[in-house]
Symmetry: C2
Subunit: 326 residues, 2 copies
């Protein structure tokens, strides 16, 4: 038998490595199904071919692109922001909820229920320009540490998902975030974290107002919520900002059900995916009983609808983008 020269072997190896667009995905049926779908819609002449302009892929953020336990990370930001404000001016702590927030007393905050959270969101997300808010979130995401993992929040994005986003863009998709979180909040780190520019982040909206101060036109954030981009709001948000029906949707909770349904009930090929948090060892395991990212409808209906349940423990060889590899 003729020996294969080392250079040929190395080239073959290199091209094989390069040919795997999803190296942090294990070689399971899930990975095969994703790649099959992408190859079908991108191969000219294929029955499933979709022109680039219509290759729209939408992703939930919390629990889909980064972690969401034990609380949505935007809530951690809000608590940190109230604490920072109170350090500068303690007189802002006019309610029990704000005092609990500034003290980092999560139980006290939770005890106050929705009203307490609304006060904290208002104190941390309003009466500020969009530009100043953006800077404070970007700074927070890059420096603040998650209380349980010890990782920076910015490092708790999912490596397999950033690979999937890049793969889709390389294949002519546009990649969008459609999140129940605030548009301004997510935009502040989405480009660094996911390569997704501000105009491709569709989120919940606090009201805002145009003001001219010292001759400079500015956007000011106001305390009222004007659009809740969750459940049936997600297709509406998609329609408002994208204006076309996506062909791929990826979520993890019941809040994403309608987005995936809207995506997969249009004409032509489509793919719906749900990330199932099954990995208590490397991340968290939760679904029907979780207070964030509750997943009932997806578990009950995904199989009948042909949606793919992504099993984090089985399908992913690595979890977080940052920090050390698992």
């Amino acid at each position: 038998m003729r020996q294969v020269p080392a250079a040929v072997f190395l080239i073959a190896l290199a091209s094989q490595v390069q040919a795997d667009p999803l190296p942090s995905w294990n070689d399971t049926a899930t990975k095969v199904a994703i790649i099959d779908f992408v190859e079908g819609v991108t191969t000219p002449g294929s029955a499933d071919f979709v022109p680039e302009a219509d290759r729209i892929a939408v992703f939930d953020n919390d629990g889909t692109l980064w972690a969401e336990q034990p609380l949505y990370f935007q809530a951690f930001f809000a608590l940190d922001a109230v604490r920072a404000k109170a350090e500068a001016d303690p007189s802002i702590l006019t309610t029990d909820a704000l005092k609990a927030a500034a003290a980092g007393d999560l139980e006290g905050v939770v005890a106050g229920g929705t009203a307490a959270l609304a006060e904290i969101m208002m104190a941390s997300h309003a009466d500020v320009t969009g530009a100043a808010f953006n800077a404070s979130v970007a700074d927070w995401a890059a420096t603040a540490i998650h209380p349980q993992t010890g990782l920076r929040f910015a490092d708790m994005t999912y490596q397999p998902m950033t690979e999937l986003l890049r793969y889709l863009r390389d294949e002519g998709f546009s990649t969008w975030i459609v999140t129940g979180g605030g548009s301004h909040f997510v935009r502040a780190f989405a480009e660094d974290a996911y390569g997704i520019p501000p105009e491709q982040v569709v989120g919940s909206l606090g009201d805002s107002e145009y003001r001219v101060i010292d001759g400079v036109g500015q956007i000011w954030k106001l305390p009222e919520l004007t659009f809740n981009d969750d459940k049936g709001g997600k297709p509406v948000g998609i329609d408002r900002n994208i204006g076309r029906r996506p062909i791929l949707a990826f979520g993890n909770s019941d809040g994403d059900f309608e987005m995936i349904e809207y995506t997969t009930t249009g004409p032509g090929p489509s793919l719906g995916l749900i990330l199932h948090h099954t990995d208590a060892a490397r991340e968290w395991a939760y679904d029907r009983e979780s207070h964030v990212g509750k997943l009932n409808r997806g578990l009950d209906e995904a199989a009948a609808k042909g949606w793919i349940m992504v099993d984090m423990a089985v399908d992913w060889s690595r979890i977080y983008s940052g920090g050390k590899a698992d």
Copy 2:
């Protein structure tokens, strides 16, 4: 003197023609200023250089990209849509406003004021899926005839503006429509008319709702206006859908003032432009006293702010994209 071969002459001529990105703009100071600005922000190493991602250009639609007299074209669509509906089912004509609309009685409609217009908009823009509405607008724009010019509405886009849009995109700008008109309405023809895809149209929003009918997820248009993308609403709409401050803004009325102000009071280079309708012979001449496209603030303040007043009669060698050249 050596004679220049004909081929060389033709090539030189061709490259000169190709080198003018704005052939329907006369060689005035306005054209020079636009090209100077674009060259400044696109030349690497220039003090004014702006990276591609930040080269965001926003355009009003009515009176800026296409005509708006004697009524916003969306109102003509609404009248035609009410008439078509009434032909299928005359029982919908329950009010004087709707009867006037179906009869094409413009004076009757105008006499009813805002309430009449609201009834007509509701009857023509709601209780329909986004997809069906889109199809009906696209069909209307491609076939309906303007009552005074005899041109199709789709032909009454401005040729100099379509050239400017293409020139900016060729130079790495993204081009956006920011319109007081409805997002769904403008998106239905913006790609054909201007090369602007649905996701780059920011407009006023009727409320909408997600419904599942026969297993298919659909967006339904509802009769309430939820966002008025005019005046101070334009910077808010820009912030909601683009998330970055533009560097070029082009409008024609007081409704565009804040958009241009927001664009031109940011850090870095920027350009604000106002189209002044001065051409009663080829289009319409109107400003301070017009019931559509009223222009007072721009006339009073543009010079002090360094915004360019584009004089249609002087700066444009051709008006409409379609129909015969002037």
